[in-house]
Symmetry: C2
Subunit: 777 residues, 2 copies
Amino acid sequence: MIPGFECASWELRWRGLAVDNLHRTESTFALSNGHIGLRGSLDEGEPVGLPGTYLNGFYEAHDLPYAEAGYGYPEAGQTIVNVTDGKIIRLLVDDEPLDMRYGKAHSHQRTLDFRTGVLTRETEWESPTGALVRLRSQRLVSFTQRAVAAIRYEVEPVDRPLQLVVQSDLLANEPIVSESRDPRVAAALRDPLVAEFQHGEGERAVLVHRTRKSELRMAAGMDHEIISPDNLRSGLTVETDLARLTAAVDVGLGERLCVTKYLGYGWSGQRSAPALRAQVEAALAGARQTGWAGLLAEQRRFLDDFWDVADVEIDGDPELQQALRFALFHIVQAGVRGENRAIPGKGLTGPGYDGHAFWDTETFVLPVLTYTVPAAARDALRWRHSTLPKARERAHVLGKKGAAFPWRSINGAECSAYWPAGTAAFHVSADIADAVSRYVAATQDGDFDRNEGTELLVETARLWMSLGHYDPHDGFRIDGVTGPDEYTAVVDNNIYTNVMAQKNLTEAVAACERNPDSAERLGVDADELAAWRHAADEMCVPFDNLLGVHPQSEGFTSHEPWDFAGTPEDNYPLMLNYPYFDLYRKQVVKQADLVLALHLRGDLFTLEQKAADFAYYEARTIRDSSLSAATQAVVAAECGHLDLAFDYLAETALIDLQDLHENVRNGLHMASLAGAWLALVAGFGGMRDHHGELTFAPRLPSALSRASFRMCWRGSRICVEIERDTASYRLVSGDPVRSAHHGEPVEIGPEPVSMAIPPVPEFPTPSPPPGREPRRK
Amino acid sequence: MIPGFECASWELRWRGLAVDNLHRTESTFALSNGHIGLRGSLDEGEPVGLPGTYLNGFYEAHDLPYAEAGYGYPEAGQTIVNVTDGKIIRLLVDDEPLDMRYGKAHSHQRTLDFRTGVLTRETEWESPTGALVRLRSQRLVSFTQRAVAAIRYEVEPVDRPLQLVVQSDLLANEPIVSESRDPRVAAALRDPLVAEFQHGEGERAVLVHRTRKSELRMAAGMDHEIISPDNLRSGLTVETDLARLTAAVDVGLGERLCVTKYLGYGWSGQRSAPALRAQVEAALAGARQTGWAGLLAEQRRFLDDFWDVADVEIDGDPELQQALRFALFHIVQAGVRGENRAIPGKGLTGPGYDGHAFWDTETFVLPVLTYTVPAAARDALRWRHSTLPKARERAHVLGKKGAAFPWRSINGAECSAYWPAGTAAFHVSADIADAVSRYVAATQDGDFDRNEGTELLVETARLWMSLGHYDPHDGFRIDGVTGPDEYTAVVDNNIYTNVMAQKNLTEAVAACERNPDSAERLGVDADELAAWRHAADEMCVPFDNLLGVHPQSEGFTSHEPWDFAGTPEDNYPLMLNYPYFDLYRKQVVKQADLVLALHLRGDLFTLEQKAADFAYYEARTIRDSSLSAATQAVVAAECGHLDLAFDYLAETALIDLQDLHENVRNGLHMASLAGAWLALVAGFGGMRDHHGELTFAPRLPSALSRASFRMCWRGSRICVEIERDTASYRLVSGDPVRSAHHGEPVEIGPEPVSMAIPPVPEFPTPSPPPGREPRRK
């Protein structure tokens, strides 16, 4: 763990400042509701690692340069914009600005409480001239009022009366250092906001800006409530890129200054500046009406309900217990109020991946949301549905039918400038279809199924029909695509892609049969259904008879082994030190690919085959991607390698708290954090949802004496508790749930049902490549 | 044929101006000796299609931009520079500038004579004010004096005395319109030359410039001899980017003004401005010493000797006869005085491909030079040898041993910004090795063999050993490479690559055995030789048992067929209208790949297998590349499809005269022109050089009643004459040559030996894809 985090089960606390860790702690302490994201920077703005205020979907566009262009290459990139910063509250103490780099901090701590949803900062600071103040700020981004964030900022003198001046800012075009190697991206992000309107009155101000190229417009507003001694003098100044409320007051011993700052944010690609101003001012009015205490209470109620359906408990590893709740807290932050916008790979915690969303959302994040906050999963899928016109257009440009969803995007248009690991990764569309099927099975949301769901399944099924072909050699082939493993690209019959496409086709058939009116509206006829069924039946799944394992894609198992012994540790991640061409042609796997198929299409493989395949790929998988450990945990657990699974659970859960990939400064790894839940629930809980049935096969690793998790299924909430030799199932609320325990049917009702855990299957435990063992600091 | 070219066997003539065809005729009328290249623009500079003066190897560098960078991507591009233009001679006739767009041309023609090597322009022009002049200019780039070009410019009044003013220029930084889509390339080529030195005296001037980024320096000089009536007034002005000799004279009827302009060029990456100035002034002094008549005589002698060893004759198609000589003339222009510089894909006839050299040079151009002007082939291979340090460094960056030669380059460093069709095309190195083996076998040049040859073979053999690996499935595999067909990339066991690598390995063994001292110097021991032999023996060559053909690469024959019926003619070339990913995954072949293996490694395949493979690939090869038709001609002829072969011969020979690819404005297609010779000599002559033996298998297509060609072999010159039923072989000079005719041994001596031609093998003639039949206008 990064020095400084304290181990506690319901909160994350960092004592002391550690300026050189600010860029990391700003990510871990980021607050978000999926619409607004505020990095956990200090109230006074500086010192700062990487300031960041984000609005989901608000980006700037820039040209994508190609030294050699090609047909169908995306021409415009998108990059999330650091919008108007409303977090800033500066303080002068007897004429000396509070800057933690100067003077002396007698105490300083920041605490993120997973149950209150509030980030608290407590500081006792002595200015260089000896003035001592006690400062406490609380910050929240409201889960219940989507456009609102709020800060309560309290200061008091400790040992003598002081003059305090507070400056509360809205600051646009904050200077940031771009880490982009592309000068065009850096240029697009230098002063990205053009001022359109500004207004201030009393203690309230609004700034409206727009971007230059993407033509999006945003508004940020602030309002204040100040409690202080009577001598307060305050004033508001408004410029194009700055609104500032200044409040000066002499505060005696035993007195305090308390500023409550309400922030409202909104953006639109269509609404005018006056409309956006009105929207933000209305949000501020609502927030003031609710009041600080009301916002706190709503936040707590929301999280109480969330933990009731989502909490996980483990006995035997407090650090991991904290990491699991940290992970779930950030997943709910990233997803809950996205509302028809993407859930980016980093959530709204940093500028990493340019703020883009990837397939990880559907494959890793949405399963968690589907089984905990299903409405958030639905909203994320509605975003995908809203981008169908762009996905259809992309398929058309590529000469394909149906819809081809982008590898990376903010607004739904493909932004990947390297097609072998972007456009060619068509599995994205099957992953979306998989998430649709999972959501519909888990919720029986008929309305979504009839509308967005069936259309998404149909359009992605059409993509597969135009991507694949029947061949006399070996059935329905899907050639020239890239699977999840980005160290192997543009290959034939990637098994993951093929079996996920197969599921996509059969689920599309089922959806059309469930929803004949939708099918008719989408022009699906009996011939098309028959074609989908036939392609699914004939889907090519290559097998290596010599080695007795599935090749990740055709020819993979004939490729040269990677020289792990000759690869120094500093050469990882390999992509920074070896050319793609050499990675592609060798048996080295960046992240679970065939093994991910063993999880998601586990219904296709025997346990023996899974064990053989897992062992083969385990020895070749290096986890240069953060997406891998969770899947390895799940399949390792199924194959009985429980302690290996536990180590992978720890790696995926601690990825950001321990900064295992050394890039947490750019934001948290949402898929990896979601993977922590998957590793626990699908790994040690053995939870599977094949064919719309919910089943479990729990088993504990030796490091834990107990684990329990909660989830929801078709409106019911259940709790599963795993001990060494037994597991018990209990209904928390709703109707009883039909399930299975290690293949035995079980009905989960209000009374706990305890079931014996069968012996662990005995396969030799495989090893990861030398030097690539699971990581934990 | 483009309207305007007249059919004649020893010259190319264009009557009339046709401004909108200037960009084309400037390419076809380009003069070069492999060191200097002058596009065939009009003396007076305008109207002009695309001005161009090139020095082989003189380029500017520019950054290569990547929206997504990757390890090992080349960072700098290179682009040939339009250097100081010395061709320009402007004329004022009674105060009116001669501009062919104004006034009236009573007659105008340009003629390129393949025997004199002189481009002649004859014009009778009436100015808008009625002044009539007769103008004749002759231009040559000397084959014998490498740094020298010369122009003789003669004007006379036709019907009344006239005042004539001639301005003879050296013009640097001529404005050109860049066709590059990359703004960085366009920027690098805007005013690419920085003036360093200029000097003029009498009728002689020199300008020295350098490039900004590549740090190359060049000098251009001019000197003049003027014959005119006595009243001539002349003066020289010299500026940084312009030197101009102005000569004004009143010319009576029956008198004339005759200006002889000598041009000297030189460049260097190391020599100083004074040194370059001296070099150019020395070249001018030499040229004046030789004089215009002397230069003409040397040019003629050189070409007489060339045609003695290289001429081809056909009876039955005068247009094609002309095209064949045109092709040979440009090949000798491109290659003869390159002297340790590359032979670019366009020669020095235009800015196409940025002036880069590719593998086409070794595979198509060098065979022609090897058998006609072997010293030029040697020099081109010496250039490759001189770039070995860069090729070793590239291999090292890629994690490989030996030398990896670049896909495209001017100075030997890789400039390809798209690795799947660049770096991955490792066959480049085997193609170079093949050219080395061919040159050594054809010349027995022991000095080259011991030094450059063996080192090139050894270092490329080492590359293959580190690229390939033994696999329990199927022997020595070379995975993840791109073969000649650029519509299929990054594949396993591309047969062309594998069998060329196999030859590379066995030729490296043979060279080391021939030259044990060289082998020792290069650190080759017995183990290494054994490893090369073993890899060659175990080389994987996949075969499709179901279809009975060789897959171009593994899996190729299982890919989806291309929908030719659904591909409109306007959609060719496909790469401009379909994404790479879709081209790569389907059975569509841009250019001969497996079929090229059938030619170059014909020793590995039975005739029956060649016929089966040829038929399979013929139906899938669309010739979006100009490199394909020649190879198809060669293999079609071998399989007995003689008329199809003839059509491909015509396509490859006429590619530039008929502008079949609609891009001759950017320069001629040297490999395609060389392919015309290959189609005739290796196609209808059946010439092969497997295992260092020279053999023939002549046969005529129905369109021709006779064909003959000449070539040299180990210092001897021979002539092969093909008629319908017999072929005759005759020694032109040198020692008798041992050869074979359709498998029967034949000794070629001074007396013609006539041999009967056996019956044509009977295989059904395959068809190219619909709409992609051989082209000829």
